[in-house]
Amino acid sequence: MNYTSMELLQLSAALRNREISSRELTEAVFRTIDAREEAIGAYITLTRDLAIKQADRVDALLGQGLTLPALAGIPGALKDNIATRGIRTTNASRMLETFVPPYDAFVWRLLRQQEIVLTGKTNMDEFAMGHSTETSAFHLTRNPYDTTRVPGGSSGGSAAAVASGEACFALGTDTGGSVRQPAALCGLVGLRPTYGLISRRGVTSFASSLDQVGTMTRSVRDNALLLDAIAVRDKKDVHSVGHEGESYLDAISEPLSSPIIGWPESYFNSGDLAGDVREQLEKALHFYESIGARIIPVDLKTLDASLAAYYIISSAEGFSAMNRYDGVHYGYRSETVESLEDVYVKSRTEALGPEVKRRILLGCFALSNDQYDDYFLKATQVRTLVKQEFENVFQSCDAILTPVTATTAWPIGTLPEESGGGRYSNDRFTLPASLTGMPAISVPVGLSDKGLPVGMQLMGKRFSESLLYRLAACYEDAHGLLATPGEVK
């Protein structure tokens, strides 16, 4: 039996019924890791010993006849910007290569309470700045569907781990699309929840007003199950609201009564939207029409402005958040310092990568006295406009269907095709949800001719996760799970 391609709910049932033990499941996952990790490079740190200990503990507890939470005993992975006490948390940066936090992120504490098994900490773009996991200071991560291609990013390690069976689920973080985009490129379900639904405490800040933890799984129901475990209010994160009432998993079973889905023409008429992506998305639209949904065109004019606003705001906040890595208190310090200025300049020059430096400079510029009004202030005004635009649009529809990315996974070492927006333009479809704080889910639609996954993005009003899950589950139920990389070959 191939445990690692089973859904979480099936695994959970099998563990409870003692058809398998957590130890067996964990060892199976690590066998996959042993077989695939060299080719994939999903992890920065593997926590094999801890995982075996956690698995044995779960087996012992189940042996005592205890009822454990649904995720108990199931191996999952965390992006390496989520603090794990006693386990190094590098953020894929030389700066924090040896940093071992003396505290747990709130989400990791919740997952420990669920008695999950931790496989390890996954690779990512350095400090989550990037969209291909190539800016990791340590190594590349390869797309399990085609190892010559990127897995996306910045949560590329988490996506690749789940897609390759090196973890049964994973958490990522999404600032501008870092969960949804790698999920799409690796054929997974990836949710960026409403801003504030999941605590950010203990998750390294990149741009605090945009950062959200997101869930990455093979199926929609798995995703809901995982979200149920971590959508808990944290009193020490002022933005945290948590979720009360019916579980997301249960809500999926509720009937979907003829939803209205908005179809933003501006997104589909973007010059560089690849043919195979368009084709798959049109398939999805037709599917929803066929089950009684009303598809209406919606007018969203702020797509291009969102791109600029996002990069200014995220870089400004990122500049400020990154300054603490100064070589003084913890983390990397250059060995050749002779003055205080050396501590700052050399440590940062040596330990931060080019993409991080680019964002710091961008943010530093946008906030400077002379530029503030033209850049940062203007960007925050654009952000308000984007919010208003979506509020208006959601008066007339329940959800909006868009591409996640303009293309499928691109070859390592190249940039995705540009549409005039420069190096970041392929990210643009995911940015509006980030700027507005609304939830958005990336759902696999199918494979391209080249056998590469294509995802669709469903966006909804704040706290409409249940509706998004229902819409996504509808599609998944009708089409089945996407073929795994192993099945494709």
């Binding site: 603090a83 936090p101 300054n323 603490r324 906030l367 006295n369």
Partner: protein, 476 residues
């Protein structure tokens, strides 16, 4: 032109460290003087992912300060990040309120001489303190992060002050308010009250502002007054000699009494402020402001008016008494025991107030006993000489002054008959003084009175003695 044709234009930025139990954004203690780096956590050490959680007590303290300085309490205020690198600032930004402070547009009235002057307050905002650097010669510099994140309010005045005396009067008043409202100890020596001075000069009568110099690291009232006077002279000299002033930050050297530039190259600071996305705006409802207002103990202004009204004190006396909360509290306890408040105030201002000097103090003497002592003074049962002796004894050990006076036979001698012999003796022994006195030297009589006082162990009524001497030797 001379120095008298110029005036200083001074504004103060005063930092008050709030004595809340916990830090501004975490639950670490704020105790002063703890061993280095024992009151720290991932939040105040700026570890990755640590998030601030606002300590609401700080908001209440800031509002108290705002109410006491007649400010508008803003319904909504915001925290910003002020970005700069320094080893005592682990986040590399200070969380402060730049654009929308919690209190705006207040004032304080200060007394200078007989005048009352209104000093306008531009704003009060909340912010976090930085840590401390400890320099060890030949070894290097260590960082103590205990103070990182300790809450401060910064009170920014308008440039309404004109000299060191006014600046000190304003600071005393602020410190009194901090203590009255219970928000801070206001100890300059421990850094819980810190003051930066912005000073420029102009010719009297002009309205324009000159080049501003900032004076930093001033840690006593005395230094502040001296630094201001010295900087004023320096600036006038430069301008008089046709020189140009540069905008810079200067430090005061206590030994030389001069100010000197802290850094030669003054880089234009760009702190790249941005709203702190880890925090939400601070909102405070009118109801809560009222609740805080009602709970504030009586403030110096109110006490002052009451003292003038109820005890017939002069404005000066009332001001001196209310300068210091502890002193004012002391007076209020003592006054319960006396029917002669004016006498009590004389004793307090002469012999007790100086003890309060710069730092807060427990009652140096039982106030009730001092009240009783003033009664004895007022009724002439003892003279002021004896009064001072008894007070000194009271500071050692408390007792009932009335019984003490009778037990130790200290009562003032008001009986002419009892004094007559001693007065006569004194006159006989001071021929020279008598001659001087009769020759027109009034003060010469003191020697004759002094002899009587000495002979009676200081107990004679000096006024009576003087009258008796004058009667005896005739003359004026």
């Amino acid at each position: 032109m001379s120095i008298h044709d110029y005036e200083s234009v001074i504004g103060l930025e005063v930092h008050v460290e709030l004595k809340t139990t916990h830090k501004l954004f975490c639950e670490c203690a704020t105790t002063f003087g703890a061993p280095p780096n024992t009151q720290v956590c991932p939040v105040c050490l700026a570890m990755p992912g640590a998030l601030p959680a606002l300590n609401r007590e700080v908001v209440e303290f800031a509002v108290r300060a705002g109410i006491a300085t007649h400010c508008t309490i803003e319904h909504r205020s915001c925290f910003d990040r002020k970005n700069y690198f320094y080893p005592d600032l682990p986040k590399a930004y200070q969380v402060t309120q730049n654009e929308f402070p919690i209190c705006t547009g207040g004032y304080l009235d200060i007394a200078t001489g007989d005048q009352v002057k209104r000093i306008r307050i531009e704003r009060i905002h909340m912010e976090e303190d930085a840590g401390k650097l400890i320099h060890i010669s030949e070894e290097g510099t260590l960082v103590d992060c205990n103070r990182c994140g300790v809450p401060l309010i910064e009170i920014v005045s308008q440039p309404d002050l004109r000299n060191g005396e006014e600046a000190v009067a304003y600071l005393r008043k602020l410190r009194a308010i901090a203590r009255y409202t219970g928000i801070s100890d206001g100890k300059m020596n421990e850094g819980s009250l810190r003051c930066d001075v912005n000073l420029s000069i102009r010719k009297k009568g002009e309205q324009t502002l000159g080049t501003r110099v900032e004076l930093k690291n001033l840690n006593s009232f005395n230094f502040i007054a001296r630094a201001i006077d010295s900087e004023f002279k320096r600036q006038v000299e430069i301008v008089e000699q046709g020189g140009t002033l540069v905008q810079e930050t200067r430090r005061f050297d206590e030994k030389t009494g001069q100010t000197y530039a802290m850094r030669k190259k003054e880089q234009a600071a760009d702190y790249r402020y941005l709203p702190d996305p880890d925090l939400v705006p601070v909102e405070i409802e009118a109801e809560e402001v009222n609740r805080i207002r009602v709970a504030i103990p009586r403030l110096p202004e109110e006490r002052k008016e009451q003292y003038i009204r109820d005890y017939d004190l002069t404005a000066y006396e009332a001001e001196r008494l209310t300068d210091d909360k502890e002193l004012s509290d002391f007076f209020e306890k003592a006054v319960q025991e006396t029917t002669y408040p004016k006498i009590l105030v004389n004793v307090i201002l002469a012999d007790v107030a100086p003890l309060y000097a710069e730092e807060p103090l427990d009652d140096p003497v039982n106030p009730a006993s001092l009240g009783k002592l003033s009664n004895l003074l007022a009724t002439g049962e003892i003279n002021s000489n004896t009064g001072r002796k008894v007070l000194k004894a009271l500071m050692e050990e408390d007792f009932d002054p009335t019984s003490y006076v009778s037990e130790h036979d200290l009562a003032q001698i008001n009986d002419r008959e009892k004094l007559q012999e001693t007065v006569d003796d004194s006159i006989a022994a001071n021929e020279r003084a008598i001659k001087d006195y009769l020759g027109g030297k009034d003060s010469a009589i003191r020697a004759i009175v002094g002899r009587v006082m000495k002979d009676t162990g200081g107990r004679a009524n000096p006024i009576l003695v003087e009258t008796m001497i004058k009667e005896a030797i005739g003359g004026r």
